[in-house]
Amino acid sequence: MIVLNELTQAIGDLDEEKVMEMLAEFVYSKPTENEAQEVVNACQQGMGIVGDLFEKGEYFVGDLIFAGQLLTEAINTLKPVIGGKSASKVGTIVLGTVHGDLHDIGKNIFRSMAEAAGFVVHDLGTDQPVSNFVEKVKEVNPDIVGMSGVLTLAIESMKDTIDGLKKAGLRDGVRIIIGGNPVTKEACEYVGADAFTSNAAAGVKICQGWVR
């Protein structure tokens, strides 16, 4: 019998061996889809712990990367028991690194955490022109648009992208979150986003709040 809060803590501790052992046993015990969903939730709560420890300055970006990997491995292990109808998708996100910027580490951490949280993520990739964001938003009608950037020029690109969405009449239909090194409250206001973060786990929490 899996102890959910033990699993949550093991994820929070980034104890890969323990997590994978617990999940292997759980899958072997032929659980119901509901039980499996509870386990997925426990994993996500574990990611919440990771995000908190990052915020506190006990975990660092390298640990977030490992956490993202651990979460992906955990979800993959659970796939056979999560079921055909699969966890109800909680929302859709269009994600990308803005034009002029080729960095993707933070974006990728966010993506794996968001997917584990039940979001469908359309990842455009890096160095994405405004038009790509606009077209994708038109195509999939997401709840959220996430923009990432590490270089200082990314702020201007984020503003361009949001202006592009406004011009296309799409701004009001989505919530926008920005992430990366240079993002601050001032940057968030300047570009016209709804939220900002430099912590992927916190970013996912914000998105979950929006789609509830």
């Binding site: 660092f60 990367i65 910027d101 270089l151 200082t152």
Partner: protein, 389 residues
């Protein structure tokens, strides 16, 4: 010899001497200025086309000349060695021109975890056989395609540098900049080389948890390589600095830093120092939690800090090491002239007393938009007037 020439020659000598004095442990007459400006920024300041003009040594030289005239830096600035011609010829995946012309460095790993044993056994072999084909699609092709691509790239580099070298010397003399070569070769901490070249940022972050013993052995195996990369050919002198950009530590927990990153780095710095050279390290991001480690390094290391508390850094390290950095480039981008002057004097007041101080920004100026012309000019003027011992 005309008067202007003599004036510039003397200015060069004075500026050289400020650096020499610092490196040899004396108080300089004035604070040396190590501010650098990237080639892309120089092209933009000179009104050139970033997408087209990096293919022309002549255009880049014009931009260098213009930028060195525009900004009264100590060092000759405005050249980038990573040019698109090389990387196009090689079919590079590790250096790619962004949509606006700026050369970027995507996260790509040279090897997989199963290659660790081979890496530990012979890192240079793994570079040629695995990393090179992974980074460069043309070099992954069979002979003769790969040999043609490599030779073309080498000739491209030779052609460019044959012009840049003399041009840089001419510019140094013309504007009375530093004419002595203080910064020699560049190298990496073994762990950073393992991360940046072989496993990538993402990969190494996972490896320290999944394969810790391999990571430790790989760092040992890379120590001879990073030393050969760094040890200069010149006669040993403290005025010759080996450049090391420190990458991974601030993204790691301290216990991982202490176990994996620090030991081989410390040995590397000790070796270079014992060989009679100096070290210049760029402590990127925020090193405040690691200051006690830096204190352990052999005396006279030149340390550029990006973020941190100037007073604490000076107090903890200022007697033993040469401090530089901490001036926020963001102020050059969005601040007023008055704010720039105020911050300059504030930093000089904290960091300059007692010497062991070189003025620098928190990071390099990569694009013209990073620093407004009048702000950078004001900054340089202020250092020259206020930074006198």
């Amino acid at each position: 010899m005309d008067h202007a020439n003599k004036v510039m020659i003397e200015q060069s000598q004075q500026r050289n001497q400020n650096f020499i004095d610092i490196y040899e442990g004396r108080m300089p007459k004035k604070i040396p200025i190590a501010i650098n400006i990237d080639g892309a920024a120089a092209l933009e300041y000179a009104g050139k086309n970033l997408i087209l003009d990096q293919y022309s040594a002549d255009e880049m030289i014009e931009a260098m000349d213009y930028t060195n005239g525009l900004f009264d830096t100590d060092l000759v600035v405005g050249f980038s060695s990573r040019l698109p011609s090389y990387y196009k010829i090689l079919g590079a995946r590790n250096y790619v021109m962004g949509g606006d012309g700026f050369m970027q460095h995507p996260n790509i790993n040279g090897i997989e975890p199963e290659d660790y044993d081979e890496l530990i056994n012979d890192p240079v072999k793994v570079c040629w056989e695995k990393v090179i084909p992974k980074f460069y699609s043309e070099l992954a092709k069979p002979a003769p395609y790969n040999m043609i691509a490599l030779l073309k790239m080498y000739v491209s580099m030779k052609n460019v540098m044959a012009k840049i070298g003399p041009a840089a010397a001419h510019i140094a003399a013309k504007y009375g900049k530093v004419t002595q070569k203080f910064y020699s070769k560049r190298t990496r901490a073994p762990f950073d080389l393992l991360a940046d070249t072989f496993r990538s940022f993402t990969g190494i972050s996972i490896d320290i948890r999944k394969y810790p013993q391999k990571v430790l052995e790989a760092c040992e195996a890379l120590l001879p390589l990073v030393l050969k990369m760094g040890i200069p050919a010149e006669k040993p002198s403290k005025t010759i600095r080996v450049g090391i950009a420190l990458h991974m530590p601030t993204f790691m927990r301290e216990k991982d830093f202490a176990k994996f990153w620090w030991p081989t780095y410390k040995r590397m710095v000790e070796y270079i120092t014992e060989a009679g050279f100096g070290v210049y390290m760029f402590c990127e991001d925020d090193w405040m939690r690691y200051l006690d480690y830096l204190k352990e390094l052999p005396a006279g290391c030149e340390m550029q800090f990006e973020y941190g508390e100037p007073k604490i850094i000076k107090q903890k390290l200022g007697d033993k090491h040469i401090i530089e950095g901490l001036f926020p480039i963001s102020l050059l981008r969005t601040g007023s002239i008055q704010e720039v002057e105020r911050k300059t004097k504030e930093l000089i007041d904290i960091l300059a007393p007692g010497g062991n101080y070189i003025f620098n920004l928190d990071k390099g100026i990569l694009r013209a938009s990073d620093a407004k012309v009048e702000n950078l000019q004001t900054l340089l003027k202020c250092i020259r007037e206020y930074g006198v011992y």
